[in-house]
Symmetry: C2
């Protein structure tokens, strides 16, 4: 089993590449839930849904999240009611939120709902929320406010400077069924090029996950989300400084840390544009590679996945 | 103040007529919540919404509930997910459910949300849910099952014979703010031609409402939901026998009872097609009138409202 620690869009594109290289039944994604939010009574899981939509071929091709051919009748009606949602709520997307909310209200776990939704979309991989327990990424702003991640990111468009990032509930959370097994028995653990702070961070904040990662005999190989010294998309550049990390391919590797030093990584794959960063990492016990990591082309994503497997020493 | 005990469609049409006769600020509707249901995590209040849509001119002109120009993108997506809803969920209608659910989750009362929604739709009357507490109409079927009213009525299309109707939560419910005042200070209380058992029944099941109705100096005048010996729409004919009532204009009046005998009514307005029923009611201390009660034409509804006011002894 190849077990991928995953956020949203970047992970979705990485998984799409990996699934061109290995059969889906060999892939498990352990997905961030820190972004999840309840709005208008609906439970919304952006990272799980971005992965589902991308792998099912339903994703909006430009924005890379939400549905292609989306409609906004409900949003327009909410606006008419004076309750314009600050979070994008497309009609088709809403159906999934309604489905999930109804199942959760009836007592299903998030992991059970996620598995059924993946099956309904014809996905062959195993899709696991990192935990069925509530874990919420909170942003403490420099101006002293405590915001849900989505309030900071979507509602305020990341306008406020970040003082600290915390994962409410993480200390008490246990890994969802299958997560520890997927890490313990993996051929390799791959860390998708997702936001280290708010996509991978909440996954690593669940104590049982940290323990399983420390104990697994599998190599852990990450992909840099920084390309050419810059974040491809999202706001890692707003968040990395808040956690004391440098926004560079080397800086992120150093923040994750080498496994032999108590950190996460055995290997680190960066973009060729950042090849100079390899020298900065020479003191870390990491297997490294530099390749094309910009995954606009699924063939590039597939080649990136092959590189990761090579660094991990795993045959595709 | 003219205070109207109201269910859904029949009450909506009656109120539309009444609002042609008197200014809206003189009208308060006390609305059934027993039909309310939580589906897919959303709080749905069919009677409140039917009244709102009808009075705002948004109602579907044929079915008389839900929105005209409705769309069903969300429902179709839910169906694709294998979760086809048995309750009609139109896109525009969903927006109101989302709005309400979000506000309730944030701590607002149903009466506060209802007032705001009415205002957002430009309604001038006062729209009150009978209670902010949970009251749910349950149907016990002859085959021994205990169903939510909507499960029996919509999901099973009223297929099962009814052994008993109960209003779960009613005993502990208190009237919503304004309800007791609207009854105590009314010029007249009008009972809309709604289903006596499952539309008016849950309103009367709230102890504080019963007490306020017994104590009010205002005359209480009802309109028969039976026309020509038959129920115009809905399923009162399936339910009246279950509560020991006869499906006729006289039978419903007798089931409500005359106020001086401990019942509800001081007056009773029936359709001219049922004029023969008046003889059956001769022993009851009721002021009665027979007129056209089929409200397909709003002018007829307005004339019906005038007749009710005349029976109540109130000047329009």
């Amino acid at each position: 089993m190849l077990t991928v620690l995953a956020g949203g869009v970047g992970a979705a594109r990485f998984l799409r590449g990996l699934l061109r290289v290995v059969p889906p039944e060999r892939v498990t994604a352990v997905v961030n839930v820190g972004d999840d939010v309840t709005l208008h009574g609906l439970r919304i899981c952006p990272d799980l849904d971005s992965i589902t939509y991308t792998l099912a071929g339903l994703v909006h091709p430009v924005q890379q999240w939400g549905r292609a051919d989306e409609r906004f009748t409900v949003r327009d009606e909410l606006t008419r009611l004076g309750d314009a949602p600050w979070f994008t709520l497309g009609d088709r997307d809403l159906a999934l939120h309604l489905h999930r909310t109804g199942r959760l209200a009836a007592g299903a776990t998030l992991s059970a709902v996620t598995a059924d939704v993946a099956r309904a979309h014809g996905l062959g991989l195993t899709l696991l929320p990192v935990t069925d327990d509530p874990v919420t990424t909170r942003i403490r702003t420099v101006d002293g406010r405590d915001l849900h991640f989505q309030e900071w990111w979507v509602r305020e468009r990341a306008g406020a400077d970040v003082a600290a990032v915390t994962f409410a509930g993480a200390d008490a959370a246990t890994p969802a069924p299958g997560v520890v097994e997927a890490l313990a028995t993996a051929e390799a653990v791959l860390v998708a090029p997702s936001n280290p702070v708010v996509s991978i961070g909440p996954v690593l904040a669940v104590p049982g996950v940290t323990a399983a990662l420390a104990a697994t005999p599998a190599p852990v190989v990450g992909v840099s989300p920084v390309i050419g010294g810059r974040v491809v998309r999202g706001m890692a550049d707003r968040l990395l400084p808040a956690v004391g990390a440098v926004t560079s391919a080397a800086g992120v590797a150093r923040w994750y840390g080498a496994r032999r030093d108590g950190g996460l990584l055995d290997g680190w794959v960066i973009d060729t544009a950042d090849a100079a960063d390899l020298a900065e990492l020479a003191d870390l016990p990491l297997r490294t590679a530099a390749t094309d990591t910009l995954m606009d082309d699924p063939d590039v994503a597939a080649a990136l996945a092959r590189t990761c497997l090579a660094v991990a020493g795993v045959t595709p």
